[in-house]
C-alpha cells in the first residue's frame, strides 16, 4: 500500500428475488467508508446490477448471506422483512486525511 494511504470499505447490500445469486435485484443499498459519496434512501430508482452474480462479476466480494429459515408453525403466511439479503464489499485505497 502506498505511503500516506489507508484502506476503506464500501458496502453494497442487494435484495434478490430468491435465494440464488443469479436472481434479479429487487432492492439495494450502498454505504461508502471513503466518504467520497453519500448514498441515501431513495437516491436511485434503477438497480446497480441486474443480478447478484453481476455484482460478483464487477469485483464485489460477497461476505454475508441471509440464511434460509423454516417458517414457524402458525406463521407460515405472514410477510415481513425482505428475505434474500446479500452483503458485498470492496476495499478502496484512499489518501490519508
Amino acid at each position: 500500500m502506498p505511503p500516506n494511504t489507508v484502506q476503506r470499505q464500501r458496502v453494497l447490500v442487494l435484495y434478490l428475488r430468491h435465494s440464488g445469486l443469479e436472481s434479479q435485484v429487487i432492492g439495494w443499498s450502498h454505504y461508502d467508508g471513503t466518504g467520497q459519496t453519500v448514498p441515501m434512501a431513495g437516491d436511485s430508482d434503477t438497480p446497480p446490477y441486474k443480478t447478484g452474480v453481476d455484482a460478483l462479476l464487477d469485483g464485489w466480494r460477497l461476505f454475508q448471506v441471509s440464511p434460509l429459515v423454516a417458517h414457524a408453525s402458525g406463521d407460515e403466511f405472514r410477510t415481513d422483512y425482505l428475505k434474500y439479503e446479500f452483503f458485498f464489499e470492496q476495499w478502496v485505497t484512499v489518501e490519508k486525511t
Partner: protein, 306 residues
C-alpha cells in the same frame, strides 16, 4: 356537499397497493389559506428541531388529543376542516375508516432547502420506515397526506413502496432498505391528497429545490368494522376463479381480480404469492365475505380434511 365515495376498483387498488391518490382535489383558496395559517420558519439556516419549535409556536394548527373524533378536531372555518369537507376527501375517508373516525395524531412535515438548513448537519433523505409500531391487525388506520402546494421531483416528495402495507415489520427496522424496485416519489399539483394504509413503507425525500416543501398528515382510526363502506354499486363479479399459469395471456383490467393479482416489481418469487393471499384476506375483511377467493389462491391452502 355530499361525499363522493371510492369505487370498488379504487378499493381494489387500495387493497393491492396500499394507497389511494386523489388528484387536484383541493381548491386553490383552501391551499393558500392553509399555507398562510401554518406558521413561519426562520429565514436563517437553523437546525430542523429549532425550525419546528418556531413553526409550532406560530401555527394555527390546533393541538388535538389522540382519540378525538375527526368531526371535532378542527375549527369548522379552518382550512383543514374545509379540506376535509371536499367531497372526494370526505368520501374517501368514509370509504376507508367510516363516518366517525378519530384522530390518532397529525403533523406538519416540512423539508427545508439547503439555504434554510443547518450547515453543520448532514442533509439526507429520511430512512424507509413503517409508521407507529408492529401492528398485525386486520382493522386498519389510514394516513391522509395533504400536499397544499405543487411538489416537483427536486423537492423530494414522499417516497413510498406500493404493495408493502401488509408487511408486519417494526417501524425503522427497515431503515437499511434504501431503494426498492418500483418505489414511487410523490410529484403532484397543489391540492393533491393521498390516503395510505397505515402499513405502507415510506420516507421523506431530500429537498434539493430552493423552496420549503410542506406536507400535512393526519392519521385516522376507525370506530367501526370497515365493511362495505365504499360505493359498492359497481361490484359486479367477473369470471372467477380464472385459469392460472396456463392462460391465453389476456388481462381484463376492469376486473377486480386482475387488480388483486397484479404483482409489484419488488415482490420476491415466493412471498409475492403470500402477498396475493394477504390481499384476498383483506378483501374478505372489507366485504365481510369469508368465502371470497381470487383465482383459487386461498381455496388451495384451505382445502383441508380433518
Amino acid at each position: 356537499m355530499s361525499a363522493i365515495k371510492l369505487t370498488t376498483m379504487q378499493m381494489a387498488h387500495f387493497a393491492a397497493r396500499g394507497f389511494v391518490r386523489l388528484d387536484v382535489t383541493i381548491p386553490d383558496a383552501i391551499n393558500q389559506r392553509f399555507l398562510n395559517d401554518i406558521g413561519t420558519l426562520s429565514p436563517e439556516p437553523t437546525h430542523i428541531r429549532a425550525q419546528y419549535r418556531q413553526l409550532m409556536h406560530s401555527s394555527v394548527i390546533p393541538l388535538v388529543d389522540a382519540g378525538t373524533p375527526l368531526a371535532k378536531a378542527y375549527p369548522k372555518d379552518s382550512a383543514v376542516a374545509q379540506m376535509l369537507q371536499v367531497p372526494e376527501v370526505s368520501g374517501a375517508i368514509e370509504s376507508l375508516v367510516g363516518a366517525t373516525p378519530v384522530v390518532d395524531h397529525h403533523f406538519l412535515h416540512v423539508a427545508l432547502p439547503a439555504t434554510a438548513s443547518d450547515p453543520n448537519t448532514p442533509r439526507r433523505s429520511q430512512h424507509t420506515h413503517q409508521d407507529s409500531t408492529i401492528d398485525p391487525r386486520q382493522a386498519f388506520d389510514v394516513q391522509l397526506f395533504y400536499f397544499p402546494h405543487a411538489v416537483t421531483a427536486e423537492m423530494g416528495g414522499t417516497r413510498f413502496i406500493p404493495g408493502s402495507h401488509f408487511r408486519v415489520v417494526s417501524e425503522a427496522a427497515i431503515g437499511r432498505y434504501q431503494n426498492i424496485l418500483g418505489q414511487k416519489h410523490v410529484v403532484c399539483p397543489a391540492g393533491t391528497v393521498f390516503l395510505f394504509h397505515m402499513g405502507l413503507w415510506h420516507g421523506a425525500g431530500l429537498n434539493q429545490s430552493e423552496q420549503v416543501r410542506t406536507l400535512f398528515k393526519i392519521r385516522l382510526c376507525p370506530t367501526q368494522k370497515q365493511e362495505r363502506l365504499w360505493d359498492t354499486q359497481e361490484m359486479t363479479p367477473g369470471p372467477n376463479p380464472r385459469p392460472i399459469f396456463w392462460t391465453d395471456g389476456t388481462r381484463d383490467t376492469t376486473q377486480l381480480e386482475t387488480t388483486l393479482m397484479t404483482p409489484e416489481p419488488w415482490f420476491e418469487a415466493d412471498t409475492g404469492r403470500l402477498e396475493y393471499l394477504n390481499r384476498i384476506r383483506f378483501w374478505r375483511y372489507i366485504t365481510g365475505d369469508d368465502t371470497y377467493d381470487a383465482d383459487y389462491w386461498l381455496t388451495r391452502v384451505e382445502n383441508e380434511f380433518v
